[in-house]
Amino acid sequence: MFGAAPQANQTDDLAKALGLTPQQGTAPIALPEAKQLEIKENGDPLEPYFNGFDEGRTGEPLAEAAGQSDAQGAALDAGLRQDADANATLLGQRMGELAEDAGNVGKIITKIEYKPSSGVIFKANPNKTTTILGSFDKDMKNIVNEMGNVKSTDFGARKGGFNVLNVPDELYDPNTFWDLYNKPWLDEAINRGDDIVLATKPDENVLTRIDYSTGQEVLTGFGQEIDYLTQKGYVYDVATNTMKFS
């Protein structure tokens, strides 16, 4: 889902969606957390090390205090630094991605160059939100990428722009995704009276698939959307590659 309204704490929201906290993965909280969790190394409590770090000491005197060798202390230092560096790098990367996404969340996309397999030419209705549906591998992947691949759960209007479903991976549960995200997103589009454009022609071979866990034929995500719209009184208009309310 793209083009959400600009908000002050979008990065925080995205970070929350990804289960991140600003401190997570940084060295200053790693040790107290480990201490709190009573993490042990080789079965021995690391209490002497933690006490040492609380006092700003390095690995070698800590190792000595814990009755171990200088070499083990140096290794402890190196290992902890390595962990801290790795965590900080990872956090930096993820926060950078979040910030980049947050910068795009409020952006309303008004133009899509991609030529979909249905042959439709994407043209946003300036007075409405234009919702795009289609098969992911055939078309939606390219559309989502062109739109910046911004993941969001804001299903609000994008007047004059395009609207696609693209929620964070972390929220995906096959048992609940339709009810919690896909259906509400489509309901919003229906209630707003969006123009609904199909990037992929709704042929059986893209509306259904084999469920490899059971061997049964089931609807794809695109298939579920078309099925739901049909239940709601929409029909496929071949000439315009749109779903029209009849």
């Binding site: 030529k115 397999s117 992911f136 991976d169 490899y212 866990s213 061997g215």
Partner: protein
């Protein structure tokens, strides 16, 4: 974004070796196992969080079309193939299970398809669809095999 290349190799290398396919990576979630005038198109659908396989054929007219394997899978795969799905615990686990079943079913029941025999397409319910990015990507491979491939419009 996860790169699924390693997972594809884990699940499809037996096929690649047995049928001497050329492996080609389109991006992190689309891959091709290229045979003589045909290819298996492996993809991860990040929207439905699943993996699947389709068949790509270079037709006699030089056009490249993609076919679902769903009808063949329904007809030929057996319960023991689907039992390989297991009980994955997360999205990537499910994607790997999808690949495992798809690959095993092909290997166990579709030697004709894997060998490039296209008789299975006679009276097949799917008449094939054109996919611009697939045609563009595969055209040079098929040309190198000596085939005529229709130019793909920009």
């Amino acid at each position: 974004m996860q790169d699924y290349e390693e997972m594809v190799h884990e699940c499809y290398d037996p096929l690649i070796k047995q049928y001497k396919y050329q492996f080609a990576k389109y991006d992190d979630d689309e891959f091709f196992l290229i045979g003589d005038g045909f290819a298996l198109y492996l993809f991860v659908d990040r929207r439905d969080r699943r993996a699947d396989v389709r068949y790509v054929l270079l037709g006699s007219s030089g056009s490249i079309k993609t076919y679902t394997l769903m009808y063949i899978q329904k007809q030929r795969y057996r319960q023991e193939d689907f039992a390989l799905y297991g009980a994955p615990q997360d999205i990537d686990g499910r994607i790997k299970s999808d690949m495992t079943v798809a690959s095993a079913g092909l290997q166990n029941h579709c030697q004709d398809i894997l060998s490039g025999d296209n008789n299975w397409l006679v009276n097949y319910p799917d008449s094939g669809t054109f996919s611009r990015h697939i045609a563009r990507f595969l055209a040079p491979y098929f040309r190198r095999q000596g085939y005529y491939v229709k130019p793909v419009e920009e």
